[in-house]
Amino acid sequence: MYFEFVNKTKVCAGKNALTQLEYECQQYHMKHPLILTDQVLYQLKYVDILTKHLSLEYSLYTDIPVDSSIHTIEDIKDFYIKENCDGLIALGGGSVLDTAKGVYLMLSQECESIEDILGFEDLKLGKDVPFFAIPTTSGTGSEATCVAVVSHPEKQVKLEIISQHIQSHVAFLDPVLTQNLPLKTTASTGIDALTHAIEAYTCSQKNPISDAYAILAIQTISQNILKVIDNPKDENIRLNLALASYEAGCAFSNSMVGIVHAIGHALGAVCHIAHGDAMSMLLIPCMRYNLEVNKDLYGDVLLYLGQKELYSQTPKEQLGQKAIDYIASLLQTLHEKTNLPVSLGSVENLSEHINEVAEKALNDGALIVNNKYANKQDIINILEGHYGY
């Protein structure tokens, strides 16, 4: 056995975590940071929550779109240089954080085009640019990962950079930032994190350290995801979900994910389905597809989902199936309470795009680490509902 594990991010987690922001800026000699966010968060005055704790001068970029592209990254890089900034603070969900990672890499690697630095594990340590990540959802785990995905609008593809030098220096997990998330987004991002953890625990690149993070994430999400729907303002529950998202990020950043993400990325690119929603629709069919090779690992998942009684009463060979059934019922409850889409049947015109989605999924790096080999026809079968909708 041989594996590698990397996690260099300092975490400031808990109530009033943002009050540490100024101190951390000082630690990293940041005197004029560039704050990155999107228009929605800016309109909702999330920047004010942050700048309340910042007496430094700063520059602000608020135009990061939902599906950020290489052009946005290159624009921000130019803006950073023009404003003479000396560090990055990214405030937002997956798109903002991934964009910030792209900007960070372009600055630290001193490159002219993001296409020069695509690939995995190829980048050397670059120029030091302080980079803080402040997630406002509990799902992507991007604050912890070594991966950035950005779109290339002209080529209509997603570009991927995987490098140990991409992680943020400090991540702030403050429940104040997720307390007002809409319930549907809370459910969708929570299932995204759960999918990260389950795929990290069951894919070919798993290792003992990533397992520890994945198990912790599965336990924490299962204990909190239904509670948060009834108590969305509860700081402890929100913090637990933020921590679980971070833990799942640490896990999958080192073990990668699997077929759920491979198809989910393609579904997002072709049918413009929100990533968390795609995970909610694909998790069960893909687990059923993988069941024959992941039976024992899924059985473990049942235990980590907190179903000790069910686990002890179920014959060993049925544990994996029971885990799938339990997650399916959890998704159904979330669907009833928040309108979370859980069926591939709800994707408009999916049948017209199945071939394109399957083709893109086949070229996704996540597929190579799926425990069960999948070809194009297998992916089409999943999308056509052969493993349930």
Partner: protein, 152 residues
């Protein structure tokens, strides 16, 4: 000696891919899926390398001194030897972080599948059973591919 073995297998893999481009529709379909010309480099840190030019709908040829679109670098001679002698699969090498890649990760997946396909033909079955998690059908006899790769 290790470097020499790797160099020889590299040449053989290239020749195998070149032959299969014309003899196995799956190889052609994979490479043509790029829809444009591509330069690929396969190299070993402090060891041999090979750069291949794929010309859209025409095939493969060896080239020198070009900046590749995709560059795969094995991090050590030891591991490269395991991969090039069929002791370790490309997938396992990826899982164990044994190589790095510069270029578009999505586009590189086609190349990984092409290597799997050429290994199906060139490596004996007892080896491919161990290193590949699926067995592809052979459209042409292995001996024919060997002869063409050696003499064509």
């Amino acid at each position: 000696m290790k470097k020499l073995i790797i160099w020889v297998v590299m040449q053989f893999l290239y020749r195998g891919m070149k032959v299969l481009y014309h003899d196995d529709p799956r190889m052609k379909e994979e490479l043509d899926g790029w829809k444009q010309d591509k330069f690929l480099t396969l190299q070993v840190m402090h060891g041999p390398s090979i750069t291949i030019k794929y010309t859209y709908q025409k095939g493969l040829q060896k080239v020198k001194n070009v900046k590749p679109d995709i560059c795969i670098t094995f991090k050590s001679i030891q591991t490269a030897l395991l991969v090039f002698t069929g002791m370790m699969s490309v997938k396992s090498a990826y899982l164990e972080h044994r190589f790095s890649l510069r270029g578009d990760v999505f586009e590189s997946m086609r190349f990984v599948r092409c290597v799997d396909l050429v290994e199906t033909y060139l490596f004996p079955r007892f080896m491919t059973k161990r290193i590949l998690n699926h067995q592809e059908k052979k459209y042409k006899p292995t001996l024919l591919i060997y002869i063409k790769a050696l003499f064509a």
